[in-house]
């Protein structure tokens, strides 16, 4: 039995989890800083970094207690090493390396994007490859083919805003609070998604995404129609984003001969996107793997699960390792 502690501090969640053999979740603790950043309308890196230092040790202690393990039971300690906010990442990396040194166990630096991918994979670790994966959050929007374990092909990504960023900006336009994703999701349930014909940017132009034009279209529509029902705006905007995401994931699956559709990242918690992806899977005879809601947002489970695979394929990360705020998802083999 291999027990790995995974630490995640790349943005505004301080999280830790214990995962057994890369698949059994023994514990998962997430301390969200949303309240700290709400008044600024977005994550403030310096505020996030300071909060991570204050929270990290109690989050680790809670993750161990919930898993009913002691420090001495751990076989490895992992942390997210990027992409993310550099000051925030370094808190998790420092904590993980300090533990690895003190406990004399391997340290594993994990790619955040690979983590999100593994969160979905965790639903069925034995699923047949290849997989077509949509990684979608406030920081990234990306299509990836998993050809074999640890070998990825990035098929497309956003040329401007991430999808989650567009949700936050549209929420601001509609006078909703931060974070925007859950607020739009809630409001859209009572709106008419066909009431406003927002553009579907680049929908038939390859596998890259663009959401900044859509955001501008929403802004212009609201300015020209001050009386518009924000529920209709939310629903129509959300439908446009979901149309693009689902359509391109299906094209990506076709191109890479993937029988399984996978989704990860914060926006994967969007209820309309989950519903539409499930329907698309059924219609096209493909399996759909979507993480449970608590594994969509940033978490320690995805870091610990990825670390287990990485440890087997690449071995430990050097204790001289740091963090890389713009780390990309690249094949390591």
């Amino acid at each position: 039995m291999t027990l790995i502690l995974g630490i995640e501090t790349s943005c505004d969640e301080t999280a830790a989890a214990v995962v057994e053999n890369g698949r059994l979740i023994r514990s998962s603790v997430i301390s969200s800083q949303i309240d700290l950043h709400a008044r600024f309308g977005g994550v403030v890196p310096e505020v996030a970094s300071r909060a991570h230092v204050e929270l990290i040790n109690s989050v680790i202690a809670e993750a161990l207690a919930e898993a009913d393990v002691q420090f001495g039971d751990l076989d490895a300690v992992a942390a997210c090493q990027g992409p993310g906010l550099i000051g925030a990442l370094l808190v998790g990396v420092s904590a993980a390396k300090a533990l690895a040194l003190t406990l004399d166990v391997p340290y594993v630096g994990v790619n955040h994007l690979e983590g999100h991918l593994h969160a979905a994979w965790l639903q069925d670790p034995d699923v047949a490859l290849p997989l077509a994966v949509l990684l979608v959050s406030g920081g990234h929007t990306m299509l990836v083919a998993v050809v074999e374990d640890g070998r990825y092909k990035v098929l497309g990504q956003t040329v401007d805003d991430a999808a989650g960023e567009a949700f936050d900006k549209v929420a601001r336009i509609c006078g909703l609070g931060y974070p925007g994703g859950p607020a739009i999701d809630r409001l859209a349930k009572d709106g008419d998604a066909r009431s406003i014909a927002f553009p579907r940017p680049m929908i038939s132009e390859g596998l890259d995404f663009s959401f900044s034009g859509l955001k501008t279209a929403v802004l212009n529509h609201v300015r020209r129609n001050p009386e518009v029902d924000v529920r209709d705006v939310a629903a129509s905007f959300q439908e446009a984003v979901v149309d693009v995401l689902v359509h391109k994931l299906l094209v990506a699956a076709d191109n890479s001969a993937a029988a399984t559709l996978v989704m990860g990242g914060g926006v994967a918690a969007n209820s309309r996107l989950r519903e539409r992806l499930t329907a698309a899977g059924e219609a096209s005879g493909r399996r759909v793997l979507v993480p449970s809601m608590d594994l969509c947002t940033d978490n320690g489970v995805m870091i610990a699960a990825t670390a287990w695979w990485r440890l087997r394929s690449d071995g430990p990360t050097s204790l001289a390792g740091g963090a890389n705020p713009s780390l990309g998802l690249v094949s390591t083999r």
């Binding site: 008044r39 600024f40 403030v44 310096e46 505020v47 970094s49 300071r50 991570h52 230092v53 204050e54 990290i56 040790n57 109690s58 680790i60 202690a61 420090f71 550099i86 000051g87 370094l90 808190v91 990396v93 420092s94 904590a95 390396k97 300090a98 533990l99 690895a100 040194l101 003190t102 406990l103 004399d104 204790l319 001289a320 390792g321 740091g322 963090a323």
Partner: protein, 231 residues
């Protein structure tokens, strides 16, 4: 008392080991912004060379700043987490105190100035006593010219020291400064950290890992801006 101490508040990482009131060894290396990369390997190497098992440590001592925010967080997170895993306490000491401490023998007041970026310095004033350096007043963040003008008006013969002297050589040109080629003297001393921690431990002046906090002195820009707008 077996002590591991480190400071990461400046562009240097300094690490020291102490045992039974003696300093076993120290390391000091220029890291620029690579605190996170260098700290843990340096701790590992120093412990190995000194044949100290981490499991035998009784306290972790750490420099609290004020200083570089990211560096501070690396040091404090490492100290808190090592102490948490070992089940031992932490002693936190201001990084400015660690620059002043080795100068207790010079018999005159000392002003420590540390680079705070944005054309400001962190500073604190000290008077040597038979019990060591005594800090007078609070830690402050100031423009270097303001402090230099203040020092020019006093005639208490104080000595200026710290990496703020290196970054603001012009401002402190008329002050009596520690020779700028004495690199070690400009930065927090790991030997001092270990020595101070030894005294504090004997006085039971330590805390739980989670009660160790950085001396930031400055809030984040976003918070300052928020208050400025009066919202």
């Amino acid at each position: 008392m077996s002590i591991l101490g480190f400071d990461t508040a400046t562009q240097r990482v300094t690490v020291g080991l102490g045992l039974g009131g003696q300093v076993l060894g120290t390391r000091s290396l220029a890291v620029d912004r690579q605190h996170a990369e260098q700290l843990v390997p340096t701790i590992r190497d120093l412990c190995q060379e000194s044949s100290i098992e981490l499991s035998s440590l009784e306290v972790i001592a750490v420099g609290l700043g004020p200083g570089l925010f990211t560096g501070l967080r690396v040091g404090i997170t490492t100290a808190r987490t090592m102490a948490q895993a070992l089940g031992i306490p932490v002693v936190g000491v201001s990084s400015l105190d660690l620059v002043a401490h080795p100068l207790v023998g010079i018999g005159r007041p000392v002003v420590v100035v540390a680079n705070a970026r944005r054309n400001e310095i962190y500073c604190a004033r000290y008077i040597p006593t038979k019990d060591g350096m005594r800090r007078e007043g609070d830690y402050e963040v100031l423009p270097p010219d303001v402090l230099a003008a203040e020092l020019a008006q006093n005639d208490d013969q104080c000595l200026v020291v710290g990496d703020g002297v290196l970054t603001h050589a012009d401002a402190f040109a008329k002050c009596d400064c520690v020779e700028s080629d004495d690199d070690q003297a400009m930065y927090p001393s790991a030997a001092s950290l270990v020595a101070i921690a030894d005294v504090r431990m004997r006085r039971q002046e330590f805390c739980d890992p989670c009660d160790v906090h950085a001396l930031y002195l400055r809030r984040s820009d976003a918070e300052i801006e928020w208050d400025r707008k009066g919202r």
